[in-house]
């Protein structure tokens, strides 16, 4: 049987392709960081990218919301189709793409503002100005990020006073407030303790009911626990991708098997 990722995109099915990446190459100056990568990311699923450090998984992730545009000397070729539209097409504004494809970073990066101001930041930029609307968005997003109960009485306090785990959930709430379709997460729990990590993981599993989640992780256990699909990266290439259970139990490639059994990494 063909795995999902090898099947052509379909509509009206429960596994619609949300993002299709075709022949993607990323260059940092002379370094060829991503080599002709092709991948399909299903809607309302959690897709994880695994692989050893420096394998290009974060670089690949950042190509999905055009974050590479910000780094001088970086070049991207190939196509990234978000709902069948190429986000690298000439008439596409990367700002619009980033409204639809949110991103959570490795280290929590709240703005030095109040908790409330952090959450409504993106919504405000999108033109929401009525106070009651903003307050509703803030509450909804914080509830979705499982942070509301912890902060509802101190929304005006500085976000920098929160713990690392709370800050990261705030950053997730901040992304949810912009109502994106896709949420990219770049090792979102790597700077957190185990309890905060498990909260983030629960949150990710809950988010897929509504969002398409793509997560880079250095922890194979984490990928196995929370993701539906997995892509294994090595030396800038996607070695293998497919259902998480299959990747972890019946990998097709020798390299994948070596990695998940801990022979290198």
């Amino acid at each position: 049987m063909k795995t999902f990722l090898e099947q052509p995109p379909r509509n009206g099915d429960e596994t619609v392709v949300k993002v299709a990446i075709e022949d993607l190459n990323v260059y940092y100056g002379a370094t060829h960081a991503i080599k002709s990568a092709t991948l399909r990311i299903p809607r309302q699923r959690v897709t994880s990218f695994i692989g050893p450090s420096g394998c290009g998984k974060s670089t690949f992730l950042r190509a999905l919301n055009r974050m590479h545009d910000l780094v001088p000397g970086t070049r991207v070729t190939g196509r990234v189709l978000l709902d069948q539209t190429d986000i690298y097409a000439r008439d596409i504004d990367p700002v619009d793409i980033r409204h639809r494809v949110g991103m959570v970073f490795q280290r929590p990066n709240p703005f030095p503002k109040s908790i409330y101001e952090n959450v409504i930041y993106g919504a405000k930029l999108q033109g929401v100005h009525r106070r009651s609307d903003l307050e509703r968005i803030a509450e909804t997003s914080l509830r979705q990020a499982a942070l509301w109960e912890e902060v509802k009485d101190r929304l005006q306090q500085s976000a920098l006073d929160l713990s690392g785990g709370q800050q990261q959930r705030l950053c997730i709430a901040r992304v949810l407030a912009v109502a994106p379709d896709v949420i990219l997460m770049d090792e979102p729990a790597s700077a957190l303790d185990p309890i905060a990590t498990s909260k983030i993981e629960d949150l990710i599993s809950a988010l897929k009911a509504q969002y398409t989640v793509v997560i880079v992780t250095h922890s194979m256990q984490q990928a196995a626990r929370i993701s539906d699909e997995t892509a294994f990266f090595h030396l800038g290439e996607i070695v293998e991708s497919g259902h998480t259970t299959e990747i972890f139990t019946r990998p097709k490639q020798k390299k994948t098997e070596d990695y998940i059994t801990g022979r290198f990494g």
């Binding site: 919301n65 910000l70 001088p72 619009d96 980033r98 970073f105 703005f111 030095p112 930041y121 912009v178």
Partner: protein, 284 residues
């Protein structure tokens, strides 16, 4: 080995002590000379600070004209150099390509080292004629002084604002851009607020640079001990008045005491600025 270390320690202690003694005697001497104004000459502090009448020959030594002159010229300079300086810093830190930014940053650093006589001279040759041509006045005065000072504080404001902006982590910029903010929105709503303490310090040190500037201001302000009713008339500041009259003030005279008292006021303002900078630095 041990003895050498002890010796080095004593040398360092002596240096530190020398600095403290030098500072303390400077302040004490200024204060002692200035106190003559209030004890020997029986001028009240209130009159000295608030009276606009400065006529030492007739025993009037109100310094309000100069104090207000200093504050106004400094305010004008900040109004010109402050926003412009922050704008240049934003350009260098956020917009200019790295190669251009490094060339321009070097230029700014060189500007700091230009002696004030050069600024004053350029003021005489360029700014004063420009003001004269546009206002049909002599050209010497407030506006000319404000313009020259505004340019003079620019390197200070740019360098410190730039430092404040560059100190903001890249993750802050990325976080904002990833939420669909434009570069401009990121600068206005995230970077500038995040760097506000550093920008405040840049402004304060710009003020400190402007308020003590003597030569360049004296060359273009016109030096009249009246408070001008518009930007185009001649005025004076605390330092320009001190430098203008100090040679002609007999030791122990009312005029000399008054000039020392003005120096104390300047010192006080500088102290206040330093304390403000410290307060900001401690809070952030």
């Amino acid at each position: 080995m041990h003895r050498e270390e002890a010796f080095a320690l004593w040398v360092l202690r002596a240096c530190a002590l020398f600095l403290v003694v030098a500072m303390a005697s400077l302040v004490a001497y200024l204060g002692y000379q200035a106190s003559g104004l209030f004890t020997i000459d029986q001028v009240s502090l209130g009159e000295f600070l608030t009276s606009f009448r400065f006529d030492p020959d007739l025993n009037h030594v109100g310094a309000a004209v100069f104090l207000l002159g200093s504050l106004s010229v400094t305010g004008l300079a900040l109004l010109i150099g402050g926003p412009l300086g922050v704008a240049v810093a934003i350009f260098l830190s956020e917009i200019a390509p790295p190669a251009l930014a490094s060339v321009l940053t070097l230029t700014i650093e060189l500007l700091v080292g230009i002696p004030s006589v050069v600024y004053g001279w350029l003021g005489l040759l360029v700014v004063v004629p420009f003001v004269r041509a546009t206002s049909l006045t002599s050209g010497f005065g407030f506006l000319a002084a404000g313009l020259v000072l505004g340019v003079m504080i620019l390197p200070t404001v740019v360098a410190l604002s730039l430092e404040a902006l560059r100190a903001q982590p890249q993750s802050l910029r990325e976080g904002s851009l990833a939420l669909g903010a434009t570069r401009w929105e990121t600068i206005c709503h995230v970077l500038l607020p995040a760097a506000r303490a550093g920008l405040g310090v840049a402004f304060l040190l710009g003020i400190a640079r402007a308020i003590g500037e003597t030569l360049a201001v004296q060359m273009v302000i016109g030096n009249a001990s009246v408070f001008p009713h518009d930007l185009f008339h001649a005025a004076a500041t605390l330092p320009t008045e001190i430098v203008l009259d100090m040679a002609g003030a007999p030791p122990g005279s009312l005029l000399q005491h008054a000039l020392f008292a003005m120096a104390c006021v300047l010192l006080g303002i500088s102290l206040l600025l330093v304390l403000l900078v410290r307060m900001i630095a401690r809070r952030s």
